[in-house]
């Protein structure tokens, strides 16, 4: 019995246990990144939310191009921000699509309505001619004159809009110019004088709040393109919570089964492998937390699958170890040559699997990407823990003097 290695083993077991507890329990609320589980956010399918893909189409006034698309994106961002969701995802996909993802909202359907509201803003003369559309509106803000107490909404146009608006107001003095949202009259102010500078004021509101609503509608109504929902997935919060509970429960049962199997089949090395699996889980959790990985239902499945992979590296090594022991080698040299020979197999097999995962990551979207990330992180980490940690543990265990090769499965 060598007490040095016993001390080392005990120290490692205690250290891992402490780190494991710290990773999942909020013991130090002052440390920002602890517990690690806090850094991993849940996907739409686990906390409820909505995923919408919008496809933009040309209209009479706007063609789909980079400019109009970024305008469309900005408009949608404003609308989304208006109903205050934390960490919304709004991104352009391809040439004419925009993806919106909102997590953790109570009423996903209502949110979709707000986003896709085809709100099409136009300014029309009395004879029904459209002079400007929402695409030319740069900004709309409400304000209250501190002296007179008069509430007004100030409109600001872009360059083209300024020109068009100047011409239109010059031709329509003392007539009305209607501001229409989706064909409904939102405002119908009278033109007092030509407005050449692209800044118009609408007055006559009863409160600042009313003016604010109008300003918001004007701003958010400025959709430059017509959009159509081509994909929508909403998950109610209750289904999300249910999925999370069930998959975590399933995961725990599966992991217990792996632990039991490894222990029964591989005995002492199996115990070490189980311990390595614990270390593996903590490392993966830390990486997920550090990369801010969004965990989805397929992501959890991938994490559990990668545990199978993590065990696999150990299985390859232990099978090798058994063979070497049966050939009559000493425990120490069996561990060494077992690792050396198994390493090539582990490396080559994992690289080929990583190729498949990389392709999946490249082509997949949303939950599938999350699946690929989880699997990829798992494979790399499992290789690392099997080669470094399991090996170190095996050597130290051998050093303690437990030499009965039966315990190693031989």
């Amino acid at each position: 019995m060598k007490w040095g290695s016993v001390t080392r083993l005990v120290a490692v077991v205690i250290a891992v246990a402490v780190i494991a507890v710290l990773s999942i329990q909020p013991i130090f609320p002052n440390v920002k990144w602890l517990p690690l589980t806090k850094g991993v956010s849940l996907g739409l399918d686990l906390r409820g939310g909505v995923h919408v893909t919008l496809e933009a189409k040309d209209t009479a006034v706007g063609k789909v191009n980079n400019d109009t698309m970024s305008q469309l994106k900005e408009t949608i961002e404003r609308r989304v921000n208006a109903f205050g969701v934390s960490e919304p995802l709004i991104q352009q996909e391809g040439k004419n699509r925009i993806i919106v993802e909102l997590a953790g909202i109570q009423d996903p359907e209502k949110a979709v309505n707000e986003i896709i509201k085809t709100a099409f803003l136009e300014f029309k003369t009395e004879d029904g001619k459209t002079i400007i559309t929402g695409a030319d509106l740069k900004n709309a803000t409400e304000s209250k004159d501190p002296m007179s107490g008069q509430v007004e909404v100030t409109l600001e146009f872009n360059e083209a809009g300024t020109k068009k608006f100047a011409e239109a107001t010059a031709a329509n003095v003392n007539k009305r110019i209607a501001i229409m949202l989706d064909g409904q009259v939102l405002q119908n102010p009278t033109v007092n004088e030509p407005i050449p500078n692209g800044k118009a004021r609408i007055t006559g509101y009863s409160s600042l709040e009313e003016a604010h609503t109008i300003a918001l509608l004007l701003k958010s109504g400025a959709l430059p393109l017509q959009t159509e929902v081509i994909e929508k997935r909403t998950v109610g919060p209750s289904l999300g919570a249910d999925s999370l509970n069930k998959s975590v429960k399933a995961g725990i049962i599966g992991v217990i089964a792996i632990f039991a199997f490894m222990l029964l089949y591989y005995r002492l090395p199996g115990l070490i492998a189980n311990f390595a699996l614990l270390v593996y889980t903590i490392i993966v959790l830390a990486i997920f937390s550090g990369l801010h990985v969004v965990l989805t239902l397929p992501g959890i499945a991938a994490f559990l699958l990668s545990m199978g992979m993590a065990v696999d590296a150990n299985v390859i090594i232990f099978e090798r170890l058994k063979e070497e022991l049966k050939e009559g080698k000493t425990l120490r040299s069996a561990i060494n040559s077992g690792f050396n020979r198994a390493f090539v197999a582990v490396l080559d097999s994992n690289v080929t699997t990583l190729i498949a995962v990389a392709v999946l990551f490249y082509f997949g979207s949303g939950p599938i990407k999350s699946f690929a990330v989880a699997l990829g992180v798992g494979i790399v980490t499992s290789m690392f823990t099997a080669i470094t940690f399991t090996r170190w543990m095996l050597h130290n265990t051998a050093d303690t003097g437990i030499k009965n090769t039966k315990l190693y499965g031989a």
């Binding site: 209750s238 289904l239 599966g254 545990m307 696999d312 197999a345 190729i355 498949a356």
Partner: protein, 292 residues
């Protein structure tokens, strides 16, 4: 322990039979495609009161949706699969049904336009081809070209069987099918490589040994590993299947079929397949020499 190389034709026949059965089903019944491929709406509702399929179907009539597919998920939840509905249409229908049947919570509402499905199919095939090419390049570099061919052949076998069984059992196919297939490809190739690694090592140590004996020996040497690895993954998948809820049960079922099939093909198809390829190559060379 039986001789895998000597009995390999039996395994070829078994695989061929399953593939033909699957292809037959694919041609006659096709795949049970989900809305990801066909386009459409899926609404999952949980009713407050106990309702029957007839109740739900009846309430759909008002919206001309009585032809929709209905599936009871137990616990008063129903899946309603309809044609593509606009936001207003689906909202009206959901509200109407809920009011008529005493209140319901909307668990899920998915809409997929018809364009998405075509793109998905194209991307899936592209992904599979690219993954296969990259993997064969790696295997050719680390092993040899014939082993790359045998490994990819094994993968093709897995994909065919997975798709065939999905058709036979009419498992609904959605976008996660692509993920399932590629995951299986990753796992199956992993098994194959571990076996090829052992063949490579045995070839180095004993060049004179008969190739059939050597492959057989390598397959048996890695057998415990092959089976144990599949077992650990199967444990996790079974737990997910029985306790993981409805949402991913299709995905998990496909993975389960694929994992078992992948391990089988690595041992009984890719290994012996490489032996046959190698034999044919040798025969050709000998024939070439004899002719010269």
């Amino acid at each position: 322990m039986f001789h895998i190389i000597k009995t390999r034709k039996i395994f070829y026949m078994i695989s061929l039979a399953i593939i033909i059965l699957g292809l037959g089903s694919l041609l006659t019944r096709g795949l049970n495609l989900g809305i990801d491929f066909t386009g459409g709406n899926i609404v999952e509702l949980k009713f407050k009161n106990a309702v029957t399929v007839q109740d739900v179907r009846g309430s759909l009539e008002a919206y001309k949706l009585e032809d929709s597919q209905l599936q009871s998920g137990g616990d008063n939840t129903f899946l309603i699969r309809t044609r593509v509905l606009s936001q207003t249409e689906s909202e009206q229908a959901i509200q109407g049904i809920s009011e008529k049947l005493g209140g319901a919570t909307l668990l899920r509402n998915e809409l997929v336009g018809p364009v998405i499905g075509k793109e998905l199919t194209r991307q899936a095939i592209l992904a599979l081809v690219i993954a296969s090419v990259l993997m064969s390049l790696y295997i050719t570099w680390r092993f040899e070209f014939l082993q790359a061919i045998a490994a990819i052949g094994g993968l093709l076998h897995d994909v065919l069987i997975m798709t065939g069984i999905a058709s036979l059992l009419q498992i609904q196919i959605d976008s996660t099918f692509v993920a399932a297939v590629l995951t299986i490809v990753g796992y199956s190739i992993n098994d194959t490589i571990v076996i090829f690694d052992r063949i490579r090592e045995n070839l180095r140590m004993n060049r004179k040994e008969d190739l059939g004996e050597l492959v057989n020996k390598s397959l048996w040497q890695t057998m415990a590993r092959s089976i144990n690895t599949v077992l650990t993954v199967v444990f996790v998948l079974l737990a997910l299947l029985f306790f993981g809820g409805n949402t991913i049960s299709n995905f998990v079922t496909l993975l389960l079929i694929g994992i078992v099939c992948g391990a089988y093909s690595s041992i009984f198809i890719s290994g012996p397949g490489w032996y046959d390829l190698r034999r044919i190559q040798k025969d050709r060379k000998r024939a070439g020499k004899a002719a010269a």
